[in-house]
């Protein structure tokens, strides 16, 4: 992963102006949402089902920072369907490395750096800073990145079974991100089950936000276990899918 990180970073920095435009474009892009929430809370007055401006900003900081880690370190996960249906997986299968880590880590999405800067800055500006809270934030961001990549791997692996599942997987991934940046308490009824399982926004953001406000060791262990289940399910899905993969006749090399 370290080698991929350094290689991908140097490749991104090759076009320095483009790199900087993408990074700062993403920071500005995200800043727009602070304005939206500030105006909304000013108009509403008070909180929205227990979430104030600061709590929503925590969701934003966590979502963007966690997402940035997945985009920077494991940015190829979003290409998985395309790689499978084009028969490009052969290239990874032939290399003397574990297939899935090799595959997901082999690309860095440069705009992820903008999300990283934004997420960290937003956390520092809007949240009370104590060593424990900083550690929790970093830990939750790592857990979010891992679960988010697992969700992508799980849904993109459907391509092994159903043909091209690219659009479906991309939609689910977008929905995970979209739900994480809204207060979890606005949803009720059957939708909350979906948001704890099929689209696990609760696991990546809302429960960490509760733990950040008031840490509960038992709840934290339950969260770890639930995240572990998602990671294992995605590994299982990919492994089973790989058994059904039939090679393409496309020639390719990775240097």
């Amino acid at each position: 992963m370290k080698k991929y990180f350094l290689f991908n970073l140097s490749a991104g920095m090759e076009y320095r102006t483009s790199f900087l435009i993408q990074v700062f474009g993403m920071v500005l892009n995200n800043c727009a949402f602070i304005i939206f929430w500030k105006m909304l809370f000013d108009r509403v007055g008070g909180d929205i089902n227990g979430y104030g401006f600061r709590e929503v900003m925590f969701l934003w900081a966590l979502a963007t920072f966690g997402f940035s880690i997945s985009e920077i370190l494991m940015g190829n996960a979003r290409q998985l369907s395309s790689i499978i249906y084009k028969g490009e997986l052969d290239v990874y299968l032939l290399q003397p490395r574990a297939v899935l880590p090799n595959l997901v880590c082999s690309r860095m999405n440069i705009s992820g750096w903008g999300d990283l800067i934004y997420g960290v800055a937003l956390f520092v500006i809007t949240q009370p800073l104590t060593p424990v809270r900083i550690v929790l934030f970093l830990l939750f961001a790592l857990m979010m990145a891992l679960v988010f990549v697992s969700v992508r791997v799980f849904y993109h692996s459907l391509t092994f079974f159903l043909g091209n599942a690219e659009q479906f997987a991309a939609t689910i991934s977008e929905l995970v991100i979209m739900f994480t940046i809204y207060p979890g308490s606005i949803f009720s009824g059957p939708s909350t089950w979906i948001l704890h399982t099929i689209i696990p926004a609760a696991l990546v953001a809302w429960i960490p936000a509760q733990l950040f406000a008031s840490f509960d060791p038992l709840k934290f262990l339950m969260l770890l276990a639930a995240d572990g289940v998602i990671v294992l399910l995605s590994l299982f899905m990919f492994r089973e899918g790989l058994k059904r993969y039939s090679s393409g006749n496309r020639m390719g090399t990775r240097l």
């Binding site: 892009n29 949402f33 939206f36 105006m39 659009q167 939609t171 977008e174 979209m178 809204y182």
Partner: protein, 263 residues
């Protein structure tokens, strides 16, 4: 003299092309249903115990957001196409053809966007009706609303062409698109009707071009009056003309940067 028939032909060919992709496109519209569900959940909490906020009811606010989303989600990614053509150099082939490059892009992308907009409007109608009931005055306002939604789409196309042509100067134009998109989301009132803004900001936001991409078409449908319609239409025509001229100017300047080698 502008030969409108050839641009209409490009438009109608794209409309036919796009109908071939309707089934795949409908699956993509799951996103709209979820967006409306999120907005409905959020605004239900905000409106609990209140009939009106900023002069709008819960029903009007949700329908407003569905119309604003229609314009956003039906957008053709014209900036992306132009960026790729500039990067690959294939724009050189388009220059020899008997049409205006910008005119071709408008005709083609408008055809694509209008075909996308129809299912979104139908889906938005069904979902919003289920959540809040039918918008009062919907059937009277919608014919005028369709004109303004088309105007909003054309305005976005003009921005898309301008941003795409910037690829002549910068390799990557996507971040410019993000920034424009967020200006329309926030200053244009796509996420939050401008009536919810602080009083001091409302006047300025309502005259900016971004408002004519989202706010004016959506608010005119949910709060219909001929006065609102004329304000919205006049603003759209004005800004489409201005941005069209800017796009033309940028294209003429960019042409000087093209060097064609070989054949």
């Amino acid at each position: 003299m502008i030969h409108w028939r050839k641009y209409f032909k490009i438009f109608s060919c794209t409309v036919r092309d796009q109908f071939a992709y309707i089934p795949a496109y409908l699956i993509g519209n799951i996103f709209l249903v979820v967006v409306l569900f999120v907005f409905f959940s959020l605004w239900s909490v905000i409106y609990s115990g209140k009939a009106l906020i900023a002069g709008l009811s819960m029903t009007q606010t949700l329908w407003y957001l569905s119309f604003a989303e229609t314009i956003e989600l039906s957008k053709a990614r014209v900036y992306n196409q132009i960026q790729e053509e500039v990067k690959e150099g294939s724009i050189a082939y388009a220059l020899g053809r008997p049409y205006s490059y910008n005119g071709f892009k408008v005709a083609r992308s408008l055809g694509e966007s209008l075909v996308k907009a129809i299912p979104i409007l139908i889906l938005g109608f069904i979902v919003c009706s289920l959540f809040t009931g039918i918008l009062p005055g919907y059937f009277r306002a919608i014919p005028f609303g369709l004109v303004l939604i088309t105007g909003g789409i054309i305005l976005n196309l003009m921005w898309g062409i301008i941003i795409g042509l910037l690829a002549f100067w910068t390799e990557e134009v996507t971040p410019f698109y993000w920034i424009l998109q967020k200006l329309i989301f926030i200053a244009g009132g796509m996420f939050l009707p401008i009536d919810f803004f602080p009083q001091w900001l409302q006047g300025t936001a309502k005259v900016l071009p971004f408002a004519y991409s989202a706010y004016w078409p959506a608010i005119t449908i949910v709060n219909f009056s001929m006065e609102n319609f004329m304000t919205a239409l006049t603003g759209q025509v004005f800004y489409i003309t201005v941005l069209g001229l800017v796009a033309y100017g940028i294209f003429r300047t960019a042409l000087k940067k093209i060097h064609v080698q070989g054949g």
